[in-house]
């Protein structure tokens, strides 16, 4: 499935530090980090290892299957933000 970062994310980046597949963006070294509203997980890369959920100091990450109804929309939002990033990377590589 995937894990999802939800709205009360404060951009702490403890999750970025522990992710073994670098699927959380933007990382502090990536463009857009300073102005990002929240961090997001790329669902195509996530391996569901739970490390980010354990690391988040405010429990703002959970597996998609555990999303409560009022936060479910964040799954699509993480996916859309990730897609936007992939798009941008492809365009700049082209």
């Amino acid at each position: 499935m995937t894990y999802v970062i939800v709205g009360h994310c404060i951009n702490d980046t403890a999750c970025v530090d522990v992710c073994p597949v670098d699927c959380i963006h933007p990382s502090p070294s990536e463009p857009g980090f300073k102005t990002a509203d929240m961090l997001y997980i790329d669902p195509d890369v996530c391996v569901d290892c739970n490390a980010c959920a354990e690391a988040c100091p405010i429990d703002a990450i959970m597996p998609a299957r555990k999303l409560p109804d009022n936060l479910r929309h964040y799954q699509a939002i993480n996916a859309e933000l990730a897609q936007g990033r992939s798009h941008r990377l492809k365009e700049s590589a082209a």
Partner: protein
């Protein structure tokens, strides 16, 4: 590991101070950190800025403070004000370095006529009031009008709007100040207008704050922009997904059916020109703007309009204040610094270093940079070699300063949480300095014994 000791004082226990302490303790195995705060409670804006209905974010204080304490090389001294209880130079004598992380709590001025009328309020104060800041528990706000006007297109305005518009029953389950809750229960405000100089594409509201409006019992209206223009902006945003999402969310909010008792209006493209009234605000005069071609500037037109209101809250940002014995950049409201170094042995982090912007987590990288500067100076031998080895705790006790140590704070914490548990809140905050000091009393909680 043969590391020489490095004693550092950190002034201010908000997120930037907590991150700095964490980074320092991790990076240097001999580092010892003493953290000071003017207030009895740690957390800074995480306790007094983050809004009550965003309670999950406050957890960062618990985690970091717990971790710092668990290192065994960290102490907290609450209720100690540098400048009042002990001066900067007196404190410095005991430490190899001092890091100022005392933030920015003053408000920015609109500099328009009528700004000093009753009913013209700074959000910095209003937020502190509803968050139970002990300096504000005697604040009084007139909530009798039907409309409140908020100036500023950022999350603080949204926070204030929610506090004014959410049902009391909902707010009563948060850690909102009991005094504020009672006042809001008597509020007659039914409409909040958030006024912004520029358009929705330039607004600083963040995506999660906009998204949550979808689930609240508040009607949303957009003014100063039509749907067609909004579609155009969304199309232009396209590859900037976050921007596109924000705009789409605003659009969806406006399209939701109107069925609630209370309303939030986003009025774009308007600037405040003057507050009107005798002694107290009765209306606000607004100028209508257009946008410069690149969107970066609001351009005044000759058109104006006015809104009746008895409460105008400006949420246009915070400002840092000068500190005794330290240099100050009055324009930016910061301590002048290079990568956090003010001078050898004196450092700054957080809003007092880079200005009041960013979210809680933004302070982490900021503090890492500052700590790197501290460590660099340390390894290059630029910090003072000899310090006064007297324990600061002893010195403060001798001066009869009733400091709150971590155990006393946990006692306060326990009291607030237990009281909250009884009424279905995460905590019931103690609102006055006296009550806080009283709660710290039991057992050997108050240090100095």
């Amino acid at each position: 590991m043969n590391a020489p000791s490095l004693r550092v004082a950190i002034i201010g226990s908000g997120p930037s101070g907590l991150y700095a302490a964490d980074e320092l303790l991790k990076a240097h195995s001999g580092a010892q950190v003493d953290m000071f705060d003017r207030l009895a409670t740690p957390g800074g804006l995480a306790r007094f800025g983050v809004s009550p209905d965003h309670h999950q974010r406050r957890k960062i204080i618990d985690i970091y403070e717990r971790q710092l304490f668990a290192s065994g090389r960290f102490r907290f001294f609450g209720n100690v004000e540098i400048g009042r209880d002990i001066s900067h130079s007196e404190l410095s004598a005991h430490y190899h370095g001092i890091i100022y992380s005392s933030g920015a709590s003053a408000d920015r001025m609109l500099n328009i006529p009528g700004e000093d009328l009753n009913g013209a309020v700074a959000a910095t104060n209003f937020v502190a009031w509803y968050n139970g800041h002990p300096d504000h528990h005697r604040d009084q706000y007139d909530l009798r009008g039907e409309r409140a006007v908020l100036i500023g297109n950022g999350n603080v305005a949204l926070d204030v709007a929610r506090m004014l518009l959410l049902p009391t029953a909902y707010l009563s389950k948060t850690d909102i100040s009991e005094i504020a809750l009672n006042a809001l229960a008597k509020s007659e405000i039914k409409e909040v207008v958030i006024v912004g100089r520029r358009g929705p594409a330039q607004a600083a509201f963040t995506l999660p704050e906009l998204l949550e409006l979808k689930h609240l019992d508040i009607d949303i209206e957009l003014q100063g922009i039509c749907d067609e223009e909004l579609n155009k902006l969304i199309a232009e945003a396209s590859s900037r997904v976050e921007s596109a999402l924000r705009l789409r969310t605003l659009q969806e909010l406006a399209k939701q059916p109107k069925r609630h008792a209370r309303k939030l209006i986003f009025r774009f493209m308007h600037s405040p020109l003057a507050l009107l009234g005798e002694n107290k605000v009765s209306a606000i005069q607004l100028g209508i703007n257009t946008l410069s071609h690149d969107g970066s500037k609001a351009l005044a037109t000759s058109e104006t309009t006015a809104l009746d209101t008895q409460l105008v809250i400006k949420a246009i940002g915070y400002r840092g204040r000068a500190l005794p014995e330290l240099p100050f950049d009055a324009e930016r409201g910061i301590l002048p610094n290079e990568a956090g170094r003010v001078s050898s042995g004196v450092y700054v982090t957080g809003w007092l270093k880079r200005g009041p912007q960013g979210v809680i987590g933004s302070n982490k990288m900021c503090s890492k940079e500052t700590v790197a500067s501290v460590l660099k100076d340390c390894s290059q031998g630029d910090l003072k070699q000899a310090i006064d080895e007297t324990d600061i705790a002893t010195r403060l006790s001798k001066a009869n300063i009733n400091y709150i140590d971590i155990k006393a704070w946990r006692q306060i914490n326990k009291t607030e949480c237990a009281a909250g548990l009884q009424v279905g809140k995460p905590r019931k905050k103690l609102l006055s300095h006296e009550e806080l000091m009283q709660a710290a009393q039991p057992a050997d909680a108050v240090a100095g014994r």
